[in-house]
């Protein structure tokens, strides 16, 4: 009881300091001088809300439907809490690590600590308020952490996941975002990543692999039936992700212009082709096209077009989407041979789909000032490969270390009995279906 009061006191002191700091900051921030475009701002704020809808409810439903009925609440809560934790971290220190003035190509400076100096004035190089850019990026960070939860579903402690979210967005996501978009070395090298194929999808997919390896398999994996308990949830979630992804990709133009329209079209076409590719290859292999396959193919197509969206035309988008559906299907089916338990196939869809998309961007880029191999610039594929390799290594090693440390300090997994009962009851004292 005494301990609690002491820690509450510290928390209130911390908040008072932050409050004073932010008040000082807003007094110093000068009002916007460069022109703000109403159209661009309206589209970016709308896109920010669309990206939020990808995570909650989109991803929460997509993942929630795929687990067993004893773990649906805990699985949906991972997405919910990711958004909340990352949002607070982002305005406190995440944003400045990603988008503060470049320090050695690796991280941003602390100039925007506590969102100090992030105001209504135009973000450099755009006609949107700095605040709008900051919150758009916040939504990206939120979904990236939530994506990883698919690998650890049905067995990770809630408190461990919350701490993991804080550490991962700080130490992995924010630096990666800086490398690619914040003036860091990958962007300088010329790596193309329109909306986050490396930063969001490869990083989360590879982190998922590291997490699956550190946590180990679910109890009964390979012996018990672990079929999805509610595929309509999953289909609705996938459809919501599809809708929200227009904000993710077309919003990444940071303007309501022709590039945004191109990204919108590319996103939609590639997603449709992704569904067709997945279903076709599934039909050939197993004799039946499945609803879960359709949902998965849509996400595969969305992931793969993400780095390319603003750089390719509609026909290239068809190839990128078809390729994603086929490649991701094979990755997911071959998972069983490797024996790790990435419960909801985050690596197979986001890691592999993101890798295919990043390479495909180097092949198909033809608009927006970018040129790929098929349009006479073979060097781009090499640069893309560097970006992919750096992201794989950084995310895998970093995630592995973070989880090993957390495991040693507080433990990552619920107990065997809690796992068998289900996390809804053992971690949250609730049941989804009573």
């Amino acid at each position: 009881m005494k301990d609690k009061r002491v820690s509450l006191k510290y928390i209130s002191i911390l908040f008072s300091v932050l409050l004073l700091y932010s008040l000082a900051g807003s007094a110093l921030a000068d009002e916007g001088s460069a022109a703000i475009s109403a159209g661009d701002t309206g589209w970016l704020l709308t896109s920010s809300a669309l990206v939020l809808a990808m995570t909650i409810p989109g991803l929460a439903l997509f993942y929630g439907g795929m687990v067993r009925d004893k773990n649906v609440l805990s699985t949906m809560m991972y997405s919910f809490i990711s958004v909340c934790v990352v949002s607070v971290v982002w305005v406190l220190w995440g944003y400045t690590i990603a988008f503060g003035t470049d320090v050695g190509g690796i991280v941003g400076s602390f100039e925007f600590l506590g969102s100090n100096g992030v105001g209504p004035e135009a973000f450099p190089g755009t006609a949107v308020p700095h605040l709008a850019f900051m919150v758009f990026q916040l939504m990206f960070a939120g979904i990236t952490v939530a994506l990883i939860s698919g690998a650890i579903a049905e067995r990770m402690k809630f408190v461990a996941f919350v701490l993991f979210a804080v550490l991962w967005v700080t130490l992995i996501y924010a630096p990666l975002a800086h490398w690619v978009w914040g003036g860091g070395w990958l962007g300088e090298l010329g790596a193309l990543d329109f909306a986050g194929g490396t930063v969001v999808h490869i990083s989360s997919g590879v982190a998922a692999l590291a997490a699956a390896l550190v946590l180990g398999k679910r109890h009964g994996y390979g012996a018990e039936k672990m079929a999805p308990h509610n595929l309509p949830f999953t289909l609705v979630g996938a459809a919501l992700l599809w809708v929200g992804w227009f904000g993710f990709n077309a919003g990444s133009a940071l303007a309501a212009d022709g590039i945004a329209a191109g990204a919108f079209v590319a996103t939609h076409v590639a997603t449709s082709a992704g569904v067709l590719g997945w279903l076709a290859v599934e039909w050939m292999y197993t004799g039946k096209p499945t609803a879960l396959g359709g949902a998965s193919g849509a996400i595969a197509g969305l992931v793969a077009i993400t780095p390319a969206a603003g750089f390719v035309g509609p026909i290239s988008s068809i190839w990128i989407g078809l390729g994603a559906g086929i490649v991701c299907y094979l990755a997911v089916v071959w998972k069983a041979k490797f024996g790790y338990d990435d419960a909801l196939d985050v690596l197979g869809i986001h890691g592999i789909g993101g890798t295919w998309g990043a390479v495909a961007t180097g092949l198909f880029a033809s608009v927006g000032g970018a040129t790929g191999l098929f349009f006479g610039n073979p060097g781009q594929v090499f640069i893309q490969a560097v970006g992919v390799g750096a992201t794989w290594v950084f995310s895998f090693v970093g995630t592995f270390i973070i989880l090993k440390v957390l495991d040693a300090v507080i433990g990552l997994r619920v107990g065997r009995e809690e796992e068998i009962i289900g996390l809804d009851l053992s971690e949250h004292s609730e049941r989804a279906y009573t």
Partner: protein
């Protein structure tokens, strides 16, 4: 008196009930059950992972009847529940030592 238990395909329930009420059966109890016989189960596939589902959903019917109705009930029930394909189910008949209607206390044939 006889106790008739029948395991049938779920979609045949309405047909069976109508046929039995037509020959004068006034009540029955129905339970949703799972099980397997020669039909075995089926396969489900999720992202390439196959699961063998051994227990197939069926409906269990229970009715108490007077001895003289036995042949007619077997014939009617069998006809209504039959599709001719594997998995149509089975009918089990056993002797029933007594039946009591709780409301009136009647016993035996009068309570059936």
């Amino acid at each position: 008196m006889k106790l008739v238990k029948a395991i049938i395909k779920p979609f045949k329930l309405d047909e069976v009930k109508d046929a039995l009420t037509e020959i004068g059966i006034q009540g029955m109890t129905v339970t949703e059950v799972k099980g397997f016989g020669r039909q075995k189960g089926h396969k489900e596939t999720y992202r390439g992972t196959e699961y063998q589902i051994d227990f197939v959903p069926k409906v269990k019917l229970e009715l108490a009847i007077a001895d003289d109705l036995e042949e007619k009930v077997i014939e009617t029930l069998g006809k209504a529940a039959k599709t001719g394909s594997i998995g149509d189910g089975k009918i089990f008949i056993s002797d029933l030592s007594n039946v009591i209607r709780i409301r009136t206390g009647e016993t035996g044939d009068g309570a059936v």
